[in-house]
């Protein structure tokens, strides 16, 4: 049996899903990632599929260890996402989820930059339906902004590719690296490429699309969204910009700044969106350092992040599905009726916080150790701070406010069986990778010479976690008296924030103020530009309404005059 390009399985599967319904559709959907994984396993190392287009040859398949790891990861993520969304009876979401996963596979197996660009754009176009399908006014707006930014990233990528091609004559996906602006076309091309990838990877200031759109998607859509787009960007970065020092600082920034926003955010899925950026920051740092250990760390953390972040989004998706609410202040006490979801959520929280025996532990520290080895002590400190921050906003805040805290009085049913199965599988993978990391390590692109469970590492990490947990609990207990007053939730949150250093508190305020100010200014600018465009182009604007015939004739004459005069001078 010969194999086909991995994305084809998903695209053909999506076509089948269009034509089926009911149980049959569920079976087809479950079969797609399984068939895809078998197909990937059978894929020979020298597989190749060249498609001619416009006189260029698109290489659809290129296999090596890095693309294989991401390939399996995306199959796994797609499988979990599909199981999680089986109960949904909305063909649009299913089809776009499958096409979206297929596009991500197409991108990681792309053999040249043009193919990468094709799938880069497809990622944007196919995923937007997962946001639109929520059907609210907010989600529509977010979806359109998301689409514009994502398509824009593709456009910049294409421009970069075109220049890179002109300058070097190559469209191979290989190490590009940043070059000096002044070094001509190749230099500009490298910056454009980094910019395009940076949009998808959520570099600071380019990240707004993610925190804007992901929390507005459907409960199941966000699970898909969280897995693919940013990871394709990480993969592309690892291929083209490994060892670029600038990335170390960008990544450190990415790991730190979302923490402030995550702590003041009330929408729990937006908290997770911020923590997604924070985790991608670790990966970007790893790629920026570029040593074998660092890249291994980045890639293995990408693997683990997809699973545990998917798990957290799944648990919040289940809560949203059952309660229709997503604000921390409106939730609480759900563990009584959703014990399994709560448990799985805590596994995800432990993984993202890098508890020993959970998956984050074995990958995050690889990046941090690599930072120390390459003499970036400040970056190491930044990442340490980021780790503590993750523990606070994702490890404690998410499960605490959703499932414990003050009792919101909500008594929803436990999540549907398929959701529980998906979460259970993800939780099992988190624990498995945490306890037995060597399977994951064996798939990494570089040989692994790293031992996560040294006494020192376990001790450091446990100390970090337990002392912050202790502080949290102590403050929490103190703040909980008297227990049953209205507004206690805000009290609790306030005391919880007291646990953070005073600098952090000041930074929250400053960040919130800056954000509010920026949003205000941006809103006013956008409003005025919009109004201006509408004034000119709307139905009553000069370019939108019908002109009297006389004015048309006048313009005709004017044009003639312009041509003649300009020709004569």
């Amino acid at each position: 049996m010969s194999s086909v390009a991995p994305f084809l399985v998903f695209f053909i599967g999506a076509a089948l899903v269009v034509g089926t319904s009911g149980i049959l559709r569920s079976l087809v959907m479950l079969a797609i990632p399984v068939v895809g994984a078998v197909n990937l396993y059978m894929l020979p190392a020298d597989a190749s599929h060249v498609v001619p287009l416009l006189g260029y040859e698109l290489e659809l398949i290129k296999v090596d260890k890095l693309s294989l790891l991401f390939g399996y990861l995306f199959h796994l993520a797609a499988f979990l996402g599909i199981v999680f969304s089986l109960h949904v009876d909305d063909r649009v979401q299913h089809v776009s989820g499958l096409l979206y996963a297929g596009s991500a596979l197409g991108a990681v197996f792309a053999g040249d930059l043009l193919t990468l660009f094709l799938f880069w754009e497809l990622l944007a176009v196919t995923s937007v339906f997962l946001i639109l399908a929520r059907g609210t006014e907010r989600s529509y707006g977010a979806a359109m902004r998301y689409l514009l930014i994502q398509v824009g990233s593709g456009v910049i990528l294409l421009a970069g590719i075109a220049m890179h091609w002109t300058a070097t004559g190559s469209t191979a996906i290989a190490q590009i690296g940043l070059q000096d602006w002044s070094s001509g076309l190749a230099g500009i091309a490298s910056w454009l490429l980094l910019f395009a990838i940076g949009i998808k990877a959520c570099f600071p200031l380019l990240h707004n699309w993610l925190t804007d759109a992901y929390p507005e998607a459907t409960p199941t859509g966000t699970v898909f969204l969280s897995a693919f787009t940013t990871k394709v960007a990480v993969y592309t970065l690892a291929r083209t910009f490994a060892g670029t020092e600038l990335l170390v600082y960008i990544g450190a920034g990415m790991a730190m700044f979302p923490i402030f926003f995550a702590v003041i955010e009330n929408d729990l899925r937006r908290v997770l969106a911020y923590s997604l950026i924070n985790q991608v920051g670790f990966m970007v740092v790893g790629i920026g350092i570029g040593t074998a250990l660092a890249v291994n760390g980045a890639v293995s953390h990408a693997f683990n992040d997809v699973i545990f972040k998917g798990l957290l989004f799944m648990s919040m998706g289940a809560v949203l599905y059952r309660t229709g609410k997503m604000n921390g202040s409106e939730l609480g006490g759900l563990y009584k009726t959703m014990p399994w979801t709560a448990g799985f959520c805590m596994v995800g929280a432990a993984s993202i916080s890098a508890f020993p025996l959970f998956s984050g532990f074995v990958s995050k520290s690889m990046v941090m150790v690599a930072a120390l080895e390459e003499h970036h002590p400040y970056v190491w400190l930044a990442l340490l701070f980021a780790s503590a921050g993750v523990f606070h906003h994702a490890g404690i805040k998410i499960p605490y406010f959703a499932f414990f805290a003050h009792d919101s009085g909500l008594r929803p049913k436990e999540a549907p069986l398929n959701m529980l199965i998906a979460m259970g599988l993800a939780a099992a993978i988190c624990i498995f990778n945490g306890c037995y990391p060597w399977l994951l390590y064996s798939m990494l692109p570089n040989p692994v010479d790293y031992e996560p469970y040294t006494a020192a590492h376990v001790l450091t990490q446990t100390q970090l976690l337990f002392f912050s947990a202790l502080a949290f609990v102590w403050l929490q207990l103190k703040g909980l008296y008297p227990p049953e007053l209205p507004g206690i939730n805000i009290d609790a949150e306030w005391s919880y924030r007291k646990g953070l250093p005073a600098v952090g508190r000041w930074a929250h305020k400053a960040a919130a103020a800056v954000r509010a100010e920026w949003l205000g200014v941006r809103g006013r600018i956008i409003e005025q530009v919009n109004a201006g465009i509408y004034r000119l182009h709307g139905p009553d604007g000069v370019f939108g309404r019908t002109w009297p015939t006389g004015r048309m004739a006048f313009w005709t004459t004017l044009m003639l005059g312009a041509y003649v005069i300009l020709s004569y001078v």
Binding site: L132, M144, L536, R551, M552, W555, T556, S567
Partner: protein
């Protein structure tokens, strides 16, 4: 049949022209439609025959009228460029005609239907005539034939503003045609000839003696044709004309009328003026470039805010024509090829879009965007075809529109204007908005009560639409017909270029 073979160029015109005369004598809509269908079905075969002969021999076909040798007699001169456009126009005629039957039967009073088909056939033969003739004055005659027929077609729309729109178009179209003929007259004064090939040979020497009349002629012809092809800011007649014409007429005209005018502009620029005088040094290309960019953005914004679906697409047409004239203004191989590819692709896509709207109008009777809420659930196939063609309009990879923009972008890079690539892509983003708006209305809103009982259109309307939607995707992958031929045309058009 060998005898007929010789006469293919004139048959291309005569078949629809005789069809028009025959339909004028019928009193039954069905009979008139049958005649129109036969004429429309024969035309593409003639075009394809011409195209095949030219690709085989590599030489243009010259046909002299009444044995009067050129340049004294009227010459039909078919080279790769006109054969390509002829094929496009006659193909649009072919796919339109099955669609016409039901659409025209509901929108036109039965006693007017034979006249409607007469006008359609006159319009078709006029458009084919503009493209096939090698004579500047003869082109004017055909321009008038097609235009007069077009005014009538638009005026037959049911909306009471149809007559006003047709009248406005009549005034503007006549000004345009007059400007064109003034230009032809000026050229005739200084060269004494009307034949394109002969003109190209004589303008060069005449330029030494009479530069100003020749430049004035170029200005007059540019403005006149710009009016006919609706180049910004001379496009204002188009949105209303398209919006209030009968559905079938809009779809047919959107795919053919502006395209014939674009052909004429390319012919005059590249086969006449550019051969004889240093064309690139004239400001004409710069002005056309600026106007094209203005069209790409201003008309797209207007489309974004438009509430009437047909007017939205009409504004989008103005924007898309901007892409075509942009490639003409670039005047290099890839840019010109991009123009020609987009002439073909845009005709296919826009006809498909108007077909879809016509089918919705056929079932629902409404065309304002808010009243089409949830139409995607009632007419899923039609709406899906609309979306496919809409994706083509945006230029999503895998659709025909991507190929056009790819060539145009290459043309801009060939010219060394990277910023232009950004503008091309930026304006595509505006298309994302107006197509996305339709998608949102069609799929993500609850169908209104008015749409109860609405279902897919009859197969005679649906199949042409699906064929065009399929072609939109097909031409996104197989570019031999569009990209391949267009590149060859661009090469020979630029072959005689004096810069």
């Amino acid at each position: 049949m060998t005898g007929l073979d010789e006469h293919l160029p004139i048959l291309q015109i005569l078949v629809p022209l005789f069809g028009a005369i025959l339909t004028a004598f019928t009193r039954s809509g069905v009979l008139a439609w049958t005649i129109a269908a036969i004429a429309s079905a024969i035309a593409p075969f003639i075009s394809a025959g011409l195209l095949m002969r030219i690709t085989e021999t590599g030489k243009p076909i010259s046909y002299v009228m009444g044995s009067w040798a050129a340049p004294w007699g009227i010459e039909y001169r078919v080279d790769l460029l006109n054969a390509f456009v002829l094929l496009l126009i006659s193909l649009i005629g072919l796919v339109s005609i099955p669609y016409a039957r039901k659409s025209v039967a509901t929108e036109i009073d039965s006693h007017k239907q034979p006249w409607f088909y007469t006008m359609y056939l006159l319009c078709l033969s006029g458009l084919l005539g503009i493209v096939i003739t090698g004579d500047a004055f003869n082109a004017f005659v055909f321009l008038e034939i097609s235009s007069l027929a077009t005014y009538t077609l638009i005026g037959l729309g049911r909306h009471r503003r149809a007559l006003l729109s047709a009248y406005q178009y009549l005034i503007m179209g006549t000004i345009g045609a007059t400007f064109y003929i003034v230009g032809v007259g000026l050229l005739y004064l200084v060269t004494g000839t009307l034949n394109f090939v002969d003109l190209a040979a004589r303008i060069g020497p005449a330029m030494q003696e009479y530069p100003r009349p020749i430049l004035a002629a170029l200005a007059f012809m540019t403005v006149g044709i710009s009016l006919k092809l609706a180049l910004f800011p001379l496009h204002v007649w188009l949105p209303n004309a398209y919006a209030y014409a009968p559905s079938f007429a809009t779809a047919f005209l959107a795919g053919t009328a502006t395209k014939a005018a674009i052909y004429l502009l390319i012919r005059i620029y590249f086969s006449v003026f550019a051969v004889a005088i240093p064309f690139r040094q004239l400001p004409v290309t710069e002005i056309v470039l600026v106007l094209s960019l203005a069209a790409m953005f201003i008309a797209s914004f207007a489309a974004i805010f438009e509430q009437n679906a047909k007017r939205m697409l009409a504004y989008s047409s103005v924007a898309q024509i901007g892409y075509i004239t942009l490639g003409i203004a670039l005047a290099n191989k890839m840019g010109l090829a991009g123009s020609l590819v987009h002439v073909f692709n845009h005709a296919i896509m826009k006809t498909a879009l108007f077909f879809a709207l016509g089918a919705m109008a056929y079932r629902t009777g409404v065309l304002s965007l808010p009243s089409l809420s949830g139409i995607g659930r009632k007419m899923p196939v039609t709406t899906a075809a609309f979306v496919v063609a809409g994706l083509g309009l945006i230029g999503v990879p895998g659709t025909a529109g991507f190929i056009s923009k790819w060539y145009l972008a290459l043309g801009a890079i060939e010219h060394g204007w990277t910023w232009l690539v950004f503008l091309i892509v930026l304006s595509s983003l505006l298309a994302v908005i107006y197509v996305g708006r339709f998608v949102e209305i069609a799929y993500f809103r609850e169908p209104s009560a008015d749409l109860a009982g609405v279902r897919e259109p009859p197969p005679t309307m649906l199949l042409p639409l699906l064929a065009l939607a399929f072609t939109t995707v097909y031409l996104g992958f197989d570019t031999r017909l569009t990209g391949g031929i267009a590149t060859r045309i661009a090469e020979f058009l630029l072959g005689g270029f004096t810069s």
